[in-house]
Each structure stands twice: as C-alpha cells, then as structure tokens.
C-alpha cells in the first residue's frame, strides 16, 4: 500500500465515523428532547452519574443512545490507528508498526478504564 492510498482511506474512515456518530447523537437527542418535554436539567453541581460503559444499561433509552453515538465518535480515531497499524504492517515498516502499536495500547488502556 502506498502512503497516498493510506491517506485517502484514512480520510474516508474519519469522515464516515464522524457522520455516523453525529447521526446517532442527533437521533438520541431528538428522542431525549421529545421524552423530557417538561423536565428540568441542572449541571451546576458535579454528580457524575454516567460512569463507564456499564452506564449504557443503567441510563434511560435516549441518553443511552446519545452515549452510543459518543462512543462511536471516540472509537473513530482508535479505528484510524488500527488501520494505520495494518497499513504499516503491509508496508513491512517495522519501526512504525512499533510506534503505532504503542499509541494503540495507550488508547486501549484509556478505554479499558471506562469498561467497568
């Protein structure tokens, strides 16, 4: 694979991830506003109820859908790094396979902290 080809695929990957994420967040947002019509919100005091990925099952449907959209967004750069890792491996560029693997491990560590 050439570097030019890699650029094009990475560009498309990023665009698709952001578009999909925005669509899911917007759908969740519409549902959230329709469902929460007369309620109030207060973000003045930090409570931090949405903690980690298991919030997906605890949150009400609309907020859970928004969170899924946000997770797609967070996964987009991660997918880009995974793709780069494969591309460098195909180019047999050992130094950059190492570099990319370190970045991927750092990202997976961060996502791992949100797992529980």
């Amino acid at each position: 694979m050439t570097d030019d080809r890699m650029d094009t695929i990475i560009g498309n990957l990023l665009r698709a991830g952001v578009a999909l994420s925005a669509a899911v967040v917007a759908a969740g947002g519409a549902w959230y506003l329709a469902a929460g019509g007369s309620g109030t919100v207060d973000y003045r005091r930090f409570r931090g109820e949405t903690r980690g990925l298991h919030s997906l099952v605890e949150l009400p449907g609309p907020q859970a859908l928004i969170l899924i959209g946000l997770l797609i967004l967070i996964a987009t750069p991660v997918a880009r790094v995974v793709f780069s890792l494969i591309a460098f491996a195909l180019e047999r560029d050992r130094a950059y396979v190492m570099v990319t693997a370190i970045v991927l491990i750092a990202l997976l560590y961060s996502i791992g902290t949100a797992w529980w």
Partner: protein
C-alpha cells in the same frame, strides 16, 4: 433550567463558537468550556467533558479533508502521538488531584496564550539539514503547493517529542485540543512548514482527545444530555466556518474573537482565584 430551552441555548452558543473558531483558526473547543461555566453556570468537569467530545468531532471532520490533500505528515503525527497520548492520560488522571480553582487559572492562562499566539507572524524557517533521528524514522517529506511538491527536512525530534507530551498533558487536564501548542512544537522546534504543522496537529488532536476520553467517561465527566447539544452545535458551526474560510475580512473578526477569548480568560482566572467556580 427547562430541558428544551437549555439544550437549544447550548446548541446555539456551541454553533457560534464552532463557527468563529474554525473561521479564525483558533478552534471552537477552547471557548466552549469558559462559556458553559461562566455564562451558563455549568460545573467545570461537565463542561470539560462536553468540550473534549466536541474536539474529537471537529478535528476528525477537518482532518479527513487535509489528509486526502496530502498536507498532513502521517509519520510525524504517528510518532508524536506516542507523546500526546501518554501526556493526555497523565493529564486526565491529574484532574482528580488538581483543585478546581487551579484548573480554572491554568485554563485562563492557556486561553490568554492562544489569543496572543494567533497574532504572531509565522516566519518559516526551513531546515537545510535533518536530524539524524528524523532520517532514520523517515520523517522528511514533501507537501503539495500548487502543482509542485515542496520537500522539507525535520529537525530536533526529541525536543518536539517533549513539547508534545506537554501539549497532551494540557489537552487531558483541560479537555481541549491544545492545537496551538502542537503547532509550536512542530513549526518552531522541528522546523516543519506551517501548513504541514497545522494540518498534522489537527490530525493528532482526535487521537490525543480519545486517549483522555476513556478516563473522562470512567470518572463521569461526560454527561450525555449536555455533550449532545455541545457536540452537534460545535460540529455544525465549524462545518459552516470551514465553508467561509476563504472569505475576506477574517482579520478584524479574529481581532474581535481574540478579544472575547482574552476577556473569558481574565474572568476564568478571576473566578478561579476568588473561588467562584
């Protein structure tokens, strides 16, 4: 505040911030947090969480276009992302031990700096020789200028790497993209052409922010109901801003926007010191 009224207000403010941020090149994320905390009374942690999410959206959106044009240097980006992701993880962990007042003061300082930085003249200092490390890591590249490819050399890889750790640290600590600091590391320290530095910085911001996002999520900083209008607003605004990028009269607008950032910075520092946040 009423759910619908609050969401619409946050969306409108975020769209305006995203529009001005992308039009002036200052980035929308950096003013979202002060606007949410100072004007709408949102807790600093929630504001930083929403801002971080919007940073991933705008940087990935913009990067997709630059990468295709061959402006970003993917090898430089990939290498320096080791430093920014490790910095971001450290920064995100530090939030729990740094008092809110100190966070606000640091935030104000970074805001002041980015307002000042946007007025600096960008003097290109093309390097004639490369850092041996840059040669070994194949960092030297070319960028398209019209229909020719301009070659460039990369210098001081280690210094750039160190500065990038700092940029990542600030990004994780404050929930911002810290694009200005990434650009400085590349165009000042490493002598990479300005155009390549800005687009590569943009390319790196998404990965850097994703490295703190997991920790933000595990700590409860990302509130879906707040992040939703912020992310959609900033994204819509910055897409609109990018479309008007070539329009004339950007300079006075940048002047006004920088003045707004400066004011927010001073208020942020004041509130941090007086314990108003």
């Amino acid at each position: 505040m009423h759910v619908l009224a609050f969401s619409v207000t946050v969306f409108a403010v975020s769209a305006l911030a995203g529009f001005l941020g992308s039009l002036t090149g200052l980035g929308g994320g950096v003013i979202i947090t002060p606007v949410l905390t100072l004007l709408l009374g949102v807790d600093l942690h929630y504001a930083m969480g929403a801002s971080l999410v919007s940073v991933i959206a705008t940087s990935s959106g913009a990067a997709s276009a630059y990468v295709k044009e061959g402006l970003s240097n993917i090898r430089v980006g990939m290498l320096l992302e080791i430093a920014t992701t490790l910095g971001a993880i450290a920064g995100a962990h530090l939030i729990r031990v740094v008092p809110v007042s100190a966070l606000a003061v640091i935030f104000g300082g970074v805001l002041l700096y980015s307002a000042w930085h946007s007025f600096q003249q960008h003097s290109e200092r093309p390097a004639t020789v490369s850092d041996p490390l840059a040669v070994r890591l194949r960092l030297d590249s070319t960028y398209p200028d019209g229909d020719r490819h301009v070659p460039y050399h990369v210098r001081r890889v280690k210094t750039g790497f160190g500065l990038m750790f700092g940029a990542g640290l600030l990004s994780g600590l404050l929930g911002i993209g810290s694009g200005a600091m990434k650009v400085i590391a590349m165009d000042q320290a490493m002598c990479i052409p300005f155009k390549v530095s800005t687009t590569t910085s943009n390319f790196m911001i998404g990965v850097t922010a994703a490295a703190s996002a997991g920790i933000y999520l595990s700590r409860g900083y990302i509130a879906p109901g707040l992040a939703m209008p912020v992310m959609l607003g900033v994204l819509a605004g910055s897409l609109g801003g990018a479309r008007h990028l070539m329009a004339a009269g950007i300079r006075p607008l940048r002047l006004v926007f920088s003045a707004v950032i400066g004011l927010l910075a001073v208020e942020m520092i004041y509130n941090g010191i007086s314990g108003g946040l």
